[in-house]
């Protein structure tokens, strides 16, 4: 089995609020620093990348962010249009379809079709020979997947769709995508978690569903935002005693230390639970005491990734 960054596609997933987008960006930066031509995909107009990089123009066309690093924001309507252009060789036919808007009505009425064409675009980016004429070739595609509300939704779309459409080009497209996602040599998944009870539980059940139901390879779990162990228990006890006697700023400083120690401790318990409840190897990323995480901060996190 190849290493995660030697695959063609890495999907970064997890529940909301755990720093999934940050880890996706750090993963893409790490790969690009290793000399891989990497493209990072943002799905469903989150526009987060534009904010982090202070670039307004990240859209459906890939934009170069740094050496070996490009970014794209995948819009389902654009993906749909592109899919039609590739499917229909006769120009008059696709003009007819795009103009008549019938296809967008179909998309609005068919559950999952938008997700399907979004995954279709991700797959297209990951092909060694791109279908889009004159397009850049990449070594690796990193996807900041939509936050998992319930279960596995997004990654299950191709298979769901193959069940809805029994014949025709859409069905064979759905099957191609499903096969690619479940090919452990080509596609890997990274789940992002946080050192609290709920995210740990959800990570464990997400891994189970992804492996057992969807059949993808979960290569790695990232425990994000782990407080450093700055004080020993004995030191914390001593500082609590000092705080009880002291006033003002000394008292506040000692309290902050006691609090940090307690949180770091309870987070280590959650880390142990995560390791016990999951099968994939767990990597930790430190909590960065920075009021707002910019590109440099994420770059520092990239150094911590294996």
């Amino acid at each position: 089995m190849p290493d995660l960054l030697d695959k063609r596609l890495v999907i970064v997933t997890g529940k909301g609020g755990v720093g999934k987008s940050t880890v996706a960006l750090a993963t893409a930066i790490a790969a690009s620093r290793n000399g891989k031509r990497t493209v990072l995909c943002e799905v469903a107009a989150q526009e987060r990348l534009s904010r982090v990089f202070h670039r307004a123009e990240i859209g459906f066309n890939e934009v170069e962010m740094a050496d070996n690093l490009w970014a794209i924001s995948i819009d389902p309507d654009e993906s749909m249009r592109e899919y039609l252009l590739i499917q229909l060789k006769v120009r008059a036919m696709r003009d007819l379809l795009v103009r008549s808007k019938i296809f967008s009505y179909l998309a609005a009425a068919t559950p999952g079709l938008k997700e399907l064409v979004t995954i279709g675009k991700i797959w297209e980016l990951a092909q060694p020979e791109r279908r889009v004429k004159g397009a850049r070739e990449y070594d690796l595609v990193v996807v900041d997947a939509p936050a998992t509300g319930h279960g596995v939704g997004f990654l299950q779309t191709p298979r769901t769709f193959a069940g809805i459409a029994r014949v025709g080009p859409i069905r064979s497209q759905a099957e191609t995508l499903d096969k690619f996602i479940r090919n452990h040599r080509k596609t890997g998944v990274k789940i992002v978690s946080a050192p609290e009870e709920m995210p740990v539980n959800e990570t464990a059940s997400l891994e189970r569903d992804l492996v057992d139901e969807v059949g993808v390879a979960v290569d790695r779990i990232v425990m994000n935002g782990l407080y450093p162990e700055r004080f020993t228990d004995a030191e914390a006890d001593r500082l609590a005693d000092v705080a009880a006697e002291a006033n003002g700023v000394v008292r506040a400083a000692c309290r902050a230390a006691v609090r940090e120690c307690r949180r770091a401790r309870s987070q280590r318990q959650q880390l142990a639970r995560l390791e016990e409840l999951t099968r994939a190897p767990v990597t930790t990323l430190p909590f960065l005491f920075e009021p707002e995480l910019g590109v440099e901060g994420v770059g520092a996190l990239a150094e911590e990734l294996p």
Binding site: K15, G16, G17, V18, L84, Q87, L97, R99, S100, I102, F103, Y105, L106, A108, A109, T110, P111, G112, E115, P146, A147, G149, H150, G153, T157, G163, I164, A165, R166, G168, P169, I170, A194, E197, P199, N201, R230, F231, R238, L239, A243, G248, V249, V250, A252, A253, C254, R255, A256, A257, V258, R259, E260, R262, R263, S266, F289, E290, P291, E292
Partner: protein, 383 residues
Amino acid sequence: MASIADLLEGKRVCICAGSGGVGKTTTSAAIAAGMAARGRKVAVLTIDPAKRLADSLGLPELGNTERQVDPSLFSETGVETNGGELWAMMLDAKATFDEVVRKHAPDAETRERILSNRIYQQLSNALAGSQEYMAMEKLFEIHAEDRYDLLVLDTPPSRNALDFLDAPRRLTQFIEGRALQVFIKPTGFGMKVFGRGAGMAFGVLKRITGVDLLQDLAEFFQAMSGMVGGFQERAKRVTELLAADESTFLVVCGPQGEPIEEAVYFHRKLVEAKLPFGGVIVNKVHYEDEMPLEHEELGPELTDAVGDEGLAARVRKNFEDFRALSERDRRNVEHLAREMRTRAVIRVPYLDEDIHDLAGLMEVNRYLFASGSEERAEIAASV
């Protein structure tokens, strides 16, 4: 500063909304427990409760109907409920959708045709907004039964809090399936909608999708057509309930820049939709009150008190880090209050332990239900 008890005065429906990962579920449970402790009969409708919390409330299997939390749990925790009751249920979107179809299908044959249709079976999972819509549907149903003083709704963890507001419109539009009616009978009015060449375009489309997909869709929309009126009517009444004086939206967020911006955006959309905004709850705040005397330097007195130079240096560095975070949180919360033009901002500190029982919820409630002066006293006494 405001107290939840004030914000919910005279309210019968409280909707907790916000983006994922900000502690919405815990906040909803705490609000419901707090109001039950104030003598109200409360039901909390939740999506995915933490298992340990559900277990500790004696609700290991939370189904699609309400169950009561044993009143003795309150007394064991030292909470006097004064006749209040706490009920909880877990929302199951698929089961709710099935219930709606069973209840409103005109006849048994239509009902079976819908329930067995493959498009329908994918609906509640795949159609964005259907989970949100079903949450509202359930809220509406329980509200109509009029058995509770207060309903607290924990909204689904959508990527975007706005999906929730948009859900009834999207679902009814979907079920109306006007555009798809054209596929069923591509003549007359439908042809005019699509313009010249629609017949040809339809032919091209068939080549891409395969005929069966279009047939399944057509069948589904035909089966649903008898229920369109019912769905529209219900969606209208759900929207009316959300906009009513007896309802209130509480926005839940975290103190970092991004969740704060999302909360501001969500508030703006609530106002635009003329929905009643009650207040905002910011979870996991690093309080400036913990960090007094912002500009005061930590001098040699720290080393004296701690009695160890190395340890004192680490304490100092740690203090500076937390001061920077609490300074950020203070700025962000100020910005939030200014943008929302509200004083109803409730801050809950970053607690040391995860909340996993009733005692934990009551701990959160010390902040949610505290008045301004009480709140300051709580914080001063904390740690």
